[in-house]
């Protein structure tokens, strides 16, 4: 945790510097007759972020924050594995949306999570994995008029069939 605290503060300080640099693409001072420039607000706030990071580092050096004096690891192997499996599943879910459509990705994600991570039966898994995207389809496309990504052209027959039901 101790090493993580200063590493994260360093990373956030670098990000703050980057934001300060990007802010200077617009004027950061007062322009006569126009007021503060477009970069004024984000520049000084990014500086505030940087100064906060410096204070966090100072507190770390003085051992004032709980993480700065902790000898515990950030996560054990089980924690890393759990986060990787769940977080990885969410990343894969989003990555699949432009390929197999929002509803297809929901179906696959639910199968992955319910059966492989949650150890639920195939009956329950498949029931939820099919009913949920269909219900969401009717809610968003039918009731709310919000179109979700439809993926690559091979998903079109499915959407044609579903739109026939709505309209």
């Amino acid at each position: 945790m101790r090493q993580g605290e200063i590493s994260l503060a360093g990373l956030l300080a670098l990000f703050s510097l980057y934001l300060m640099y990007k802010s200077t693409e617009l004027p950061i001072g007062y322009i006569s007759g126009q007021g503060p420039g477009g970069g004024f607000w984000p520049f000084w706030l990014s500086l505030g972020m940087l100064l906060s990071c410096v204070t966090i580092a100072y507190n770390w050096w003085r051992g004032r924050s709980p993480a700065a004096v902790s000898q515990e690891p950030l996560m054990d192997a089980f924690g890393w594995r759990t986060v990787a499996l769940v977080g990885g599943g969410v990343v894969a879910f989003v990555a699949l949306i432009p390929i197999i459509s929002m509803y297809g990705a929901i179906c696959l994600f639910m199968i992955y999570y319910l059966h492989f991570l949650g150890r639920h039966s195939w009956l329950l898994t498949l029931t939820i994995a099919i009913v949920l995207p269909v219900a969401l389809f009717f809610f968003f496309e039918g009731a709310m008029y919000i179109s979700m990504p439809q993926g690559l052209p091979f998903t079109q027959p499915f959407f044609d069939m579903m739109y026939d039901i709505i309209y």
């Binding site: 945790m1 993580g4 605290e5 934001l19 990007k22 802010s23 617009l26 126009q34 007021g35 503060p36 420039g37 477009g38 004024f40 607000w41 984000p42 706030l45 990014s46 505030g48 972020m49 906060s52 990071c53 204070t55 966090i56 507190n59 924050s65 993480a67 950030l74 996560m75 089980f78 924690g79 759990t82 986060v83 769940v86 977080g87 599943g89 969410v90 990343v91 879910f93 989003v94 949306i97 432009p98 929002m102 929901i106 994600f109 639910m110 999570y113 319910l114 991570l117 949650g118 150890r119 639920h120 939820i128 949920l132 969401l136 968003f140 709310m144 008029y145 919000i146 979700m148 990504p149």
Partner: protein, 503 residues
């Protein structure tokens, strides 16, 4: 006395069978739309606007106002049951609503939210009925310096929310404000902070993207990691007796927050450009500061649920006031309502109360009825929302992930924003591990688009002299209170250190 007879006429208009039916349908639809993460009253009102051409203008605005009310009640359901604020107005509700749900007391949180919303909405409607023209004049005297001072006060009230590590809280606030500045500079119209030159950032970063990332993805990962995947379901009790005792407890332990939220929310809601979100945050902050047990806030205090919920409903009613009397919408939803009124041939402004008095008082009457219908429908649906919490966590967790992603897309219609949600979620998980408070960042991204232009306009008015905030009669006291509140945690910390050094 004339006001009371006008209100009575208005209530009679609202309880006509067609209008009453519209209220019931509107509130129910609004409740479910508001409970969906990513969708709020603005979606419901915008989508159902064309439907209102089927009924006369009075029925139409009553229907839309009922959706607005229903969605305001519904926002709390998502905050309590899923831990994701469905709309910016319900961010503060998660602070205590979610801890209560995790303690198996979701029904107490939901009952408190419903009752507080009812009181907030009713108090605001009474204020609205009695002081509409007077308050419209007061609201007009709020210029950019006053609004900026009010924003600073909103920030000041939640500086204390981040815990003891002030530097991490300040980082979080600044981070949220910078994220709000991404996209275009609204004054010069030039692209600004297009990070890593990715064109998707030209659209800016919406509140909902950060909120869903932090609460929908980051918080869930954190819960799963902390409990090592062995999350015990909250198993809340749901019986008629339990509901009655929760109602009693909600009244007993949430009355103070309810009153603070009801009154403060209305006055903040009345101000153009302020609205329900700063109102709910300030109510939460004030309820915490004035509480005898501030340490309970953030751990499941009914007052912490009641204050923002009463405030956001009160402010929603308040924000209708500048719309009707001045033609200035106080929120995106009232902007759509305003558009609807113009389409129906009504002209909002000072003469509306005279020229279209039946319409105006019918609408005000519908506020009373909508509130009553909303609280009854909300209480009736609480068992359904509680049932949702009884699901095994291995079913609830993927459902929350799916609703986060689907809701995130529905709000922004952009894959770029979906990837941002995932990135914010993973970043929030690691920042949470190191005790960075993330609620201030979410609140800052909501208030940033109001705070920045008002600061710049104020400095332009004064030719760059910051003393403008201390020389105007309304802005000056607000600024002084805000500065005192900002310095308070630092003073408390110094005093504590001195005590420790002495002891």
């Amino acid at each position: 006395m004339e006001v009371f007879s006008l209100i009575a006429d208005g209530v009679l208009t609202a309880v006509q069978p067609v209008n009453l039916l519209l209220i019931v349908i509107g509130v129910t639809v609004g409740l479910f739309i508001g409970a969906m993460p990513g969708l709020g009253s603005v979606n419901g009102v915008a989508i159902l606007l064309p439907v209102t051409f089927l009924v006369p203008p009075t029925g139409a605005i009553i229907f839309l106002a009922a959706i607005y009310y229903g969605a305001m009640y519904g926002g709390a359901i998502s905050s309590v049951a899923l831990g994701i604020p469905g709309a910016s107005t319900a961010v503060a509700t998660t602070f205590d609503g979610r801890p209560l749900a995790l303690q198996g007391r979701a029904s107490l949180a939901l009952v408190t939210a419903a009752l507080a919303s009812f009181v907030g909405g009713t108090v605001a409607t009474v204020f609205f009925s009695l002081f509409a023209p007077l308050l419209a004049d007061v609201a007009l005297s709020f210029g950019p310096p006053e609004i900026f001072a009010l924003m600073l006060l909103a920030f000041a009230t939640f500086v204390g929310l981040g815990g003891d590590d002030i530097s991490k809280t300040i980082f979080s606030i600044c981070f949220g404000l910078v994220l709000a500045a991404v996209g275009f500079d609204t004054i010069s119209g030039e692209p600004r902070l297009v990070l890593f030159d990715i064109q998707g950032f030209l659209r800016g970063i919406g509140f909902i993207v950060l909120a869903i990332g932090v609460y929908g993805i980051g918080e869930m990962l954190w819960t799963i990691e902390q409990t090592r995947g062995e999350v015990t379901t909250t198993n809340p009790k749901m019986t008629a007796k339990g509901l009655a005792s929760d109602t009693k407890e909600a009244v007993h332990r949430g009355w103070k927050g309810t009153w603070i939220g009801s009154i403060l929310g209305f006055f903040v809601g009345v101000l153009p450009a302020a609205g329900a979100t700063p109102g709910s945050l300030m109510a939460y902050g004030v309820a915490k500061m004035t509480s005898r047990t501030p340490e309970e806030f953030g751990r499941g205090s009914p007052d912490g649920v009641a204050a923002p919920e009463a405030a956001n409903n009160s402010a929603s009613t308040g924000s209708m006031l500048p719309m009707l009397t001045l033609g200035i919408p106080g929120s995106p939803t009232t902007a759509i309502l305003l558009g609807g009124m113009v389409m129906w041939g009504l002209t909002p402004g000072p003469r509306l109360f005279i020229d279209e008095s039946e319409f105006v008082w019918g609408l005000i009457g519908s506020f009373y009825i909508s509130n009553l219908v909303a609280v009854l429908i909300n209480l009736a649906f609480i068992p359904l929302f509680i049932w949702m919490l009884r699901m095994p966590f291995t079913i609830l967790a993927p459902l929350i992930f799916v609703l986060s992603i689907v809701g995130g897309f529905a709000a922004s219609r952009s894959m770029h924003d979906l990837w941002l949600i995932v990135i914010f979620g993973i970043a929030a998980f690691f920042m949470r591990k190191f005790d960075y408070p993330l609620a201030p960042a979410v609140l800052a991204i909501v208030l940033g688009p109001i705070a920045e232009p008002t600061l710049r306009q104020s400095l332009l008015l004064s030719s760059g002299d910051p003393m403008i905030f201390f020389t105007r009669p309304i802005a000056a006291p607000i600024m002084v209170i805000a500065i005192v509140l900002i310095l308070l945690p630092a003073v408390k910390l110094l005093r504590r250190k001195r005590h420790m050094a002495e002891g």
